[in-house]
């Protein structure tokens, strides 16, 4: 399946500014299905990890309080054109998604 992660990376000098967007329902487990009245089970990304050329540059730990279709932005130094940035997440139900992009 094609990745549902979108990443934009902007290099200025050796600093890479990363903006990422994930498609995920981020269900809290406290919301009722309006049709059935049943609680919708919690379903949310727990950990989002970024590596640059295999080296971890960010680990974001999420709770259900991160908005649906999460946005996350950060910056790291020591980046250069041609580096491979990998984004991956895992959710509380064990699902995963990942995306690789080359900095330029």
């Amino acid at each position: 399946m094609a990745s549902k992660i979108k990443v934009k990376a902007k290099l200025s000098g050796d600093v890479a500014e990363i903006k990422s967007l994930m498609l995920h329902p981020m269900e809290t487990g406290a919301r009722k299905d309006p049709d059935t009245g049943e609680l919708v089970p919690a379903h949310y990304i727990t950990q989002l990890t970024f590596t640059n050329n295999g080296e971890t540059v960010m680990v974001a730990n999420f709770s259900t309080a991160v908005s649906k279709n999460p946005y996350f932005g950060f910056s790291f130094s020591g980046a250069k054109a041609g580096d491979t940035l990998k984004v991956s997440w895992v959710d509380n139900q064990g699902a995963t998604d990942e995306l690789e992009t080359v900095l330029n």
């Binding site: 809290t28 727990t46 950990q47 709770s63 309080a65 950060f74 910056s75």
Partner: protein, 150 residues
């Protein structure tokens, strides 16, 4: 050699191995208990071992003063503090106050942004952990429509 001494030696070796592991391997555990805490103080104690954080004007917390939609509240945190190890977002009045915690390896800039849900009007606390301790700054966000489904 007596048993006690041998145990001590073994323990020493194990500690050395642990210390030699890359920092990222140790850090990559999702802090389940801290996220489950229902009070801000308890969440901080569980995550950091203490809920005492020194107020700091070297932390910039950008949040809207009024959020029309509590389901999507943009939060940006940056700091000029040195040797930052992690940045966390705590929403005092949320049912589970710890919203997110970001681990900052050396080389990553202490500047993160995301979007969070807020059930009601609350203080949002940015907690920055550095090699010298815990620092915080907070701002109130007025929520007109809650973001927790209701």
């Amino acid at each position: 050699m007596d048993v006690g001494k041998r145990l001590l030696l073994k323990g020493g070796v194990a500690l050395t191995v642990l210390a030699a592991l890359p920092r990222t391997l140790l850090a990559a555990t999702w802090p389940e208990k801290a996220f489950a805490a229902t009070e801000a103080d308890a969440a901080m104690s569980t995550l950091f071992g203490t809920n005492q954080a020194a107020p700091s004007d070297q932390i910039t917390l950008k949040v809207p003063a009024i959020a029309e939609n509590g389901a999507v509240v943009p939060v940006t945190i940056s700091t000029t503090l040195g040797n930052v190890e992690s940045i966390s977002i705590v929403v005092e009045n949320n049912p589970r106050p710890l919203a997110a915690s970001f681990e900052i390896p050396t080389g990553t800039l202490p500047n993160v942004s995301s979007r969070i849900k807020m059930g009601e009007t609350s203080d949002v606390i940015a907690v920055v952990k550095t090699d010298t301790g815990l620092y915080r700054t907070s701002r109130q966000v007025k929520v007109t429509i809650g973001g927790c489904g209701g």
